[in-house]
Subunit: 135 residues, 3 copies
């Protein structure tokens, strides 16, 4: 199958990381089909938002409001603070999304970018699996 | 590839728009496969809920609770009030969903409808990309 | 098409049910492709989280915080308490997810399990549609 894993250095910061260019590179020349983007981690998700205008940090703020980083409120707590919250994240921001590809280009709207949502500062590197299913 | 964009007039109201019939029409006669529903907009999402019993408006209420329309809480603010909130929406209500199709019919449950979630009153028309990948 | 529905006894409890083994069994021997997991119910969703360390119950807590079970806040209310909340759940925890399969094995990360999120105690049995699209 036409599948690969890419690596991403996220360092020790919590963040929203734009991976659009990496995906565009993967589908270039591949014709028509569906791109599956899948994160094999339990404390990260994939989203499609506008980047560059502040929404990436707004997103982290709202994630923290929905999943407060008060460890006492979670059963799953160990390691870095916020670990319990991070483990609920993928239920709300899923680790899988599918994007149509036409003639080697994702059919993203003008303002759409694909981002890794990674509120967990304990994992300095992440992987993303890209799979292309030809039409 | 078997793909098309449909247009939707959403007017100047915030809303949840049922597009099930449009999708059913697209897959009719297409046999078995997967339907990808993708919204190329940065302030809208796709959901599958029951419509007609109030849940569509309940959904908007809960979106507003999770993403309060108080512009001062967002970095991304310009244009219509609530713009910052609208730009975070797709992280929680993703713009992409995949639905199995068997013999030209989506395998939706009895109470499931596919809706465009569009809290943004500034875009009077929206597009949705439908892609069918045959089995 | 390579598709089937599996049944799940969820009883009268609200819960998060691990279905990873059922999915693994379905894709075993099927080679490379994409697995579509689709829940044909209007009050349940699918998520990928770590199970066994408390995050499943943490998830239900956070769902209840985002979708409070105070019926007076919902238009859609009848039947068991919390029905209105349950009907909004699928907008936030979608009933559809896609997982890559390589050589008959899902490409899940070490800590990822696939769960049915079912906050509705009124449905003692649930169905999940599994569809495999070969690469």
């Amino acid at each position: 199958m036409d599948t690969t894993e890419i690596g991403l250095h996220t360092g020790d910061a919590r963040g929203v990381f734009d991976v659009t260019d990496r995906l565009a590179e993967f589908v270039a020349g591949r014709g028509d089909g569906l791109l599956s983007v899948f994160v094999p981690h339990a404390t990260a998700g994939i989203a499609i938002i506008e980047t560059g205008a502040g929404s990436d940090l707004d997103l982290l703020d709202r994630v923290d409001a929905v999943l407060p980083r008060r460890d006492a409120e979670y059963r799953h707590r160990h390691g870095a603070p916020g670990h319990g919250a991070d483990h609920v994240l993928p239920a709300f921001v899923a680790p899988s999304i599918t994007i149509p590809v036409v003639d080697g280009t994702m059919t993203l709207g003008v303002w759409q970018s694909v981002v890794l949502v990674d509120p967990n500062e304990s994992n300095p590197s992440r992987r993303i699996r890209l799979t292309f299913l030809a039409a």
